[in-house]
């Protein structure tokens, strides 16, 4: 076991800002180009290490590159430069319930969503009761999910996602799902993960959440890393910059 769960080294991510984008053949041919764009660096040379077993917060204002970094961590986007190395199984929760089919039942969707998140059939079968139990939708598990309330929908999605049991969990502000009761449950789950020595990387705008949960933090501003280290001083530095 290494001491470092995720190694982010010199990561830069470029986006294209389109002034003109020809997504149809006619306009592409007429204008003789597919697009006119300028490069926008959403992340520039970001490097830090996330120690194993820590709860790591990513903070920064809107547009600072937090979500881009999170998507790079979860392999949805690929950085132009630099590399991200994860030591251990990594799972990301950027949105819960993505991939649910509205016409299928909760049961079928657990299997579907579980396999999208990389779980095998046996693994899902083993965890099935736990997932249903955690979501609290027992009565409706054989109903199509389109009939679920939005709360039930995200609760089920969250329960499937959290059951992946990764060594490293990457979370976008999904803690704010469900009612107070469910949120408490989630809190406890995250505390369990922490006490089991799992690494959690978290993006949040709520400084309270970050202060309460994280022991380490990184502060991003306009795509560059401003500070990284223990949570309290980093948050203080970010707050004083506002």
């Amino acid at each position: 076991m290494t001491d470092i769960a995720v190694d982010v080294s010199n990561v830069s991510k470029k986006f294209r800002l389109y002034h003109e984008r020809n997504q149809s053949l006619k306009s592409a041919v007429m204008r003789r180009r597919v697009s006119v764009h300028e490069d926008f660096w959403a992340l520039q040379d970001v490097s830090f290490e996330v120690p194993t077993g820590s709860t790591f917060g990513l903070i920064g204002s809107n547009g600072s590159g937090k979500s881009t970094l999170l998507k790079c961590l979860s392999k949805i986007l690929y950085p132009e430069k630099g590399s991200i190395t994860a030591h251990g199984k990594l799972a990301a929760m950027l949105e819960v319930g993505s991939g649910f089919h509205p016409e299928l039942s909760g049961r079928e969707n657990i299997y579907l969503n579980g396999s999208i998140l990389g779980m095998g059939r046996k693994e899902i079968e083993r965890k099935f009761d736990e997932i249903v139990d955690f979501s609290g939708v027992e009565h409706f598990i054989d109903q199509p999910v389109k009939n679920y309330s939005s709360g039930m929908y995200v609760r089920l999605g969250f329960s499937v996602a959290i059951s992946v049991e990764p060594e490293i969990l990457v979370v976008d502000e999904v803690l704010a799902v469900g009612d107070a009761d469910f949120q408490k449950k989630c809190q406890r789950k995250f505390e369990d993960l922490r006490s089991e020595g799992k690494t959690v990387i978290l993006v949040s705008h709520s400084m309270d959440t970050v202060e309460r949960m994280c022991d380490r933090a990184a502060w991003l501003q306009n795509g560059t890393l401003r500070a990284v280290g223990d949570a309290a001083p980093t948050i203080a530095a970010y707050k004083s910059s506002l």
């Binding site: 997504q23 053949l25 690929y78 079928e108 999208i116 059939r121």
Partner: protein, 278 residues
Amino acid sequence: MSYIKEVLGARELLSNLVLREVRGQYKRTIFGRLWSLISPLASMLVYTFVFSFVFKVQPAKGNPSGLDVYAVWLLCGLLPWTFFANAVNAGMGSLVVNAGLITKVYFPRLVLPVSSVFSVAYNWGFEMIILVVAIVVVGGFVWPWLPFVVLMMLVLAVFATGVGLLLSIANVYFRDTQYLLGIILQIWMYLTPIVYPVSLVAGQSDRIGGIFGTPITILDIYELNPMLHFVGVFRTLLYDNTWPMVSDVVACIVWALLALVVGAWVFSRKEKRLAELL
């Protein structure tokens, strides 16, 4: 290598996605899965009326089966074609339809087009079973050729997957692809000997001879169409009840592998940028 390993590791995801399509497709309909049979049946009736009854197209009798039923002869070519057309269509749209998934979760993206081809193949399987029953009813002796039919169905599925992969990427860049494809498929169908026998084209081609003074005949160009070979093979097996020409089978396999290699190569190159492009 690790890429292939990853795709193979996603087999369960693939089967779950196929199930999602198959189970979700005919929900909330009264006839359910019957709809997948009604549509080829309707085309069969229309084409039989127009081409057999009105235009008097007469394909040669099945040799050696002796079958002489236009509707059955038509279906032997039409069912593989509709599978191909539907599979390519579904594969092409699969990335754009699942944009929400691609931008939020990581998994090998290849499973999306492949699963939509498979779910179309699932319906095709039923259609082919009905066709076999029909052939038996009108007096064909098709049983010994069935294993080979299944094999050729796989080859056609590979071909459709390759084309679907290629077009799914094209559709991400240019949404015109979906509209263009509809027109191309329509033209392509009539350029394939489905509703008329290839002998009619051969006759015209012989009459005209080499075009523009070259030894190349219209038939030579006509035979460049990969679907012609597929339709030919299926018809020989199902309608004539005999071995197809080796050259046809080889052409099918070569086209299928070529499509798959090119499709997978383009797909794997563009796959990483999909989340940005969608």
